[in-house]
């Protein structure tokens, strides 16, 4: 196996781990705040003793575009449910904002893919994100009232933390096309803001 292929496999493995962590975050019991527990699972401490050789392109732009679109769609689906089933106005409003923002980002991602004549390419990470999102929605469907709000917000904290880590460690560094990289960099502040908002809601639920 060539060194490049080895690197590819490692980074793809990390992405799959990310998707799995996101899926698990959506399914785990909610009594433990996921903000603390999800981060280590999603983002293992980097080995600073090794050079940053993993910065070599590991996934292609078509795959990155597909991951971005899938991540947005997954959170839109959960947001739609929160808009409908959320017990508190704050959770309903947050869900509505997630739908608006992630739909808006997806519109731009699809427009960019069309402009670049790139067909987003399905991949293992996208599949894991989708199945994790579906599992989360299925779980939320069975909850009501405060239990729904808590489970939804806990997952939103873990999910946005995982997406932020993926943007910083995998998606932005590996994007080759300048427009795609610029779009991902524009998405990043949205993810940070969503994470902050979710954390604030999470702390207001526990106090």
């Amino acid at each position: 196996m060539s060194p490049t292929r080895l690197t590819d496999r490692r980074v793809l493995g990390a992405l799959v781990a990310l998707a799995t962590a996101v899926a698990v975050a959506g399914c785990k019991k909610t009594e433990n705040p996921p903000a603390d527990t999800a981060t280590p699972a999603v983002a293992p401490a980097p080995d600073t003793t090794k050079p940053a050789a993993a910065a070599a392109p590991a996934i292609n732009d078509a795959q990155i575009a597909h991951i971005a679109v899938t991540a947005n769609s997954v959170d839109s689906a959960a947001g739609m449910l929160a808009e409908k089933k959320g017990a508190s106005k704050a959770v309903k409003d947050f869900g509505k904002t997630m739908v608006t923002d992630h739909s808006g980002v997806n519109k731009q991602a699809v427009a960019l893919a069309t402009k670049l004549n790139v067909t987003p390419e399905d991949n293992d990470t996208s599949k894991q994100l989708k199945s994790g999102g579906d599992a989360n929605v299925a779980k939320l469907q069975g909850l009501t009232g405060k239990a729904f709000d808590k489970a939804y917000i806990d997952n939103e904290v873990a999910y946005h933390q995982a997406v932020l880590d993926a943007l910083d460690k995998t998606l932005i560094p590996n994007a080759q096309n300048a427009d795609l990289k610029a779009l991902l960099e524009k998405v990043r502040p949205a993810v940070v803001a969503h994470l902050d908002m979710a954390k604030k809601l999470q702390s207001s639920q526990t106090t």
Binding site: T97, T100, D101, G104, V105, Q108, L183, K186, V187, P189, A190, V192, A193, D196, M197, K200
Partner: protein, 110 residues
Amino acid sequence: MLSQVRYAAIASVFALGGVAACTRPTPRAHTVTIKNFAFDPAELTIARGDTVVWSNTDIVPHSSTARNAAWDSNAIGANATWRDVPGKAPGRYEYYCVFHPTMKGTIVVR
């Protein structure tokens, strides 16, 4: 002599008008750029009657919503602008984005 007095009176009226015009500056237009989920500048000082344009350079909608209900832009779309004359009375006006309440700004009207 009489015509000289008249001339002086007319000149005085014009002079007073000029002074009045100088003490009431022309309203200015200011811009608050919405970028990376923040208002820039976060605090803006304006004169009464000045216009403020909020320019959203982000890829999602935002709003400029005064906490005291003095103004509300509703959704300002991606790459869109919204203008208002928020300085109707002197004071300090706190505002935020209704969709992303972590985004906060202030307009100070002199």
